[in-house]
Symmetry: C2
């Protein structure tokens, strides 16, 4: 297990009762070269260092990652005053690619979570005051439900606890082994 991942495991354990252990910020670039950033729910980390999130193929972020698969994750743990910044490559998983994985993550969602995929196209105008109407069944995986795997390629770690602060850069060498270097914060 790379050193940064041992650190992340500790950070997650230390903040497990805090909201910040459940989400992070994901930055992408659109087809005009503009940056976008939003909070997304953390759904796990695979053995080969892929962060798992779920998404909607009709969403802004899915379209942006289709055009440009580079993503950057910023995960700040307020309680431990630590920040992990992950340089990532995104893999978009839709029903056609891996229906089993999608069914697995769909089943794990609460009803409230499933509803978000069933009340219309995200970002389109809503008639003010009207209730959102859920269409479709909670049992069936909607065709626009998808999973995004973010393969971590670089790690920029910062701890604000000490004086001075501590910052460490992690990347893979030519052999694919993780190497790290302490850098000036």
């Amino acid at each position: 297990m790379p050193q940064w991942r041992q650190g992340l495991t500790k950070s997650l354990h230390h903040t497990r009762s805090m909201p910040e252990s459940r989400y992070f910020q994901l930055a992408t670039v659109d087809d005009k070269g503009l940056p976008f950033c939003r909070t997304v729910v953390y759904r796990g980390l695979t053995e080969d260092n892929q962060l798992i999130i779920i998404s909607d193929t009709r969403s802004e972020k899915f379209k942006q990652l289709q055009d440009n698969g580079h993503a950057h994750v910023c995960w700040y743990f307020a309680k431990s005053r630590e920040q992990y910044r992950f340089g990532c490559k995104a893999t978009l998983v839709t029903w056609d690619n891996d229906s089993e994985l999608l069914a697995f993550h769909w089943r794990k969602l609460s009803d409230a979570g499933k509803k978000q995929f069933l009340w219309g196209e995200p970002g389109t105008p809503r008639n003010d005051g009207s209730a959102l109407h859920v269409e479709g069944s909670f049992e069936k995986v909607p065709p626009h439900f998808c999973v995004i795997l973010l393969t971590i390629e670089t790690v920029d770690y910062l701890s604000l606890r000490g004086n001075p602060q501590y910052r460490e850069w992690h990347q893979k060498d030519a052999m694919g082994n993780w190497i790290s270097q302490s850098v000036i914060p």
Copy 2:
């Protein structure tokens, strides 16, 4: 005052004792078109809707914003379960542009805050184990200290409290007046 700003004022008041009221995430794009994201400290909001942050002209984000002034801010308030996403244009203020503004923000920094500008070039290798050496005086504004003003041009607001969630899009019309539209979350 635009409607979204009244909302932000309320959110800040409601979460004033929480760490999330003091920082947000800032996304930028580098000269290769890759996204970057990091947590930055909120230093205020001007009357004409510019978020104020401080930075270092030797930092990654300053160089990225010099090349591409488009920035995106993501501010998530865990306590009130609200997210503001601001599409912004950055204005970089250095000593040559406005020494008075820089001196003002430098004076407001704590000694620990000032130290971060005096222990070497951010992101460069640090000799492991060695203490960081502060060079320069706390009294004198260092030449690489700068202020970044982020002019808010669009607002994508999301409230996760209700069921269903509530999302609202804000932008300026051709006359420069803020208009808003409820959208599907």
